[in-house]
């Protein structure tokens, strides 16, 4: 890695940035874990409707501790609540929503994203117990599939790559990546840089990235408020 180290966005800040692109009334599926954080940062006046694979539409926050109903959980097996206008349905209908193109946005985590739009986010090798859940379904069907991720791994390896080396979750499915350092679109097999941290040079960002970052249209500053984690 070359150049000055720039402090990247926190997970909360990445989630905040992703949340700004979700329209009022959008139907959204957030992957288990880090992506769930996106729900916290909806801009005022906007209310997305959240879908969970196990058959609930329009669920809300976790109930207070001790008031959980364990028959009312999300795909991450966390207790949830229902908002007015919620609906409950079985798994085949739930994945009809996913596969049938009815979700406006799915936001997922990633081990690697390729400039082709390929995503690897379910397995890092061939050891241990493999588990795929709904990830392979979610990457096909949602009108827009976005990824939120650190720009590099903990040991500094790029997560935005030319070709994924980990097992694929889906082929040519991701169209936007929100990272700790940039917002990158994927179009016609290329990474197109849309936003970068104001304190970092294009060269430094490129050096952290495993494939060519293209410019196409305006490049703006990635500015995000300070947020408690």
């Amino acid at each position: 890695m070359t150049g000055t180290m720039v402090k990247g966005l926190t997970n909360a800040q990445i989630a905040w940035r992703a949340a700004q692109d979700i329209a009022d009334g959008a139907y959204v599926n957030l992957g288990i874990g880090f992506p769930e954080m996106v729900a916290r940062y909806q801009p005022p006046g906007r209310q997305a409707i959240f879908h969970t694979e196990n058959g609930v539409l329009d669920f809300g926050e976790a109930p207070p501790a001790g008031q959980e109903d364990w028959d009312l959980i999300n795909a991450g097996k966390k207790a949830i609540t229902l908002k007015p206008g919620a609906a409950i349905f079985h798994h085949a209908d739930s994945f009809a929503m996913v596969r049938g193109g009815h979700l406006d946005v799915a936001i997922l985590g990633a081990y690697q994203v390729a400039e082709t739009g390929d995503l690897a986010n379910w397995r890092v090798g061939s050891k241990g117990v493999p588990a795929v859940g709904g990830a392979m379904d979610l990457v096909h069907g949602a009108k827009r599939v976005a990824v939120i991720t650190d720009h590099v791994t903990r040991d500094g390896q790029p997560k935005l790559v030319d070709r994924c080396t980990f097992p694929l979750t889906g082929v040519a499915c991701v169209t936007r990546v929100y990272t700790s350092h940039a917002v990158v679109d994927i179009a016609e097999g290329r990474f197109v840089l849309r936003e970068k941290l104001p304190g970092q040079s294009l060269e430094d960002l490129q050096a952290m990235t495993g494939a060519r970052l293209h410019l196409d249209g305006p490049l703006t500053d990635l500015t995000v408020p300070e947020l408690a984690e």
Partner: protein
Amino acid sequence: MDKTIATPAAAVEGIADGASVMIGGFGGSGAPIELIHALIDRFRATGSPGGLTVINNNAGNGRIGIAAMIDAGMVAKMICSFPRSSDPRAFTERYLAGGIALELVPQGTLAERIRAAGAGIPAFYTPTSFGTELAEGKPVAEFDGRMYVQERWLKADVALVKAETADRHGNLTYRLAARNFNPLMCMAAARTVVQASRVVAAGGIDPELVVTPGIFVDAVVEVREPQQEEALIRAGVGYA
């Protein structure tokens, strides 16, 4: 979020010439008469939308609903399982004169093709119609020693649907056997327009009792005392 629209006329505004239109209902139950008639009104006033492909189990009855659309000359093609009824004149006359096309689909295959479209399944295999003239030209395959026909999903530009209760998010329930194709068509169209006898606030339908989740619905118009197709036919009413 509020998917309600004030009038049937406003609800059917966007439907274009040549569109494919799924229309809910089975015989006289579950047909969205007010939406259909609003579409006919628009066609009479503006000449549009014409050249429609209509998808329904039947092909109209009497002189109302889909039959009145056919009479008005708006329909280029019907996709249905049973284009007969107690009074099928509108379709029969035009079909025998070569003025309307017909794609005949077995009823269960029609339902499943629509459901497949809603579920993102581009094709599936069914035993139905194997070895018959309705399977001609379709791929066949053997599974576990039995032969099946490959069928494709069936999508539409618009679905016109009749529900009993809707909330403002588009969650729906249906009345008795007026359910039929309606929940499937909600899933399969690029735009789903619903007339409901009653529109309630979000939260007005128990989440466990929702039949069609609002994600499948784009627009809801309240039609408080909707006409019932079979009752109109028995009363000899026409829409001319």
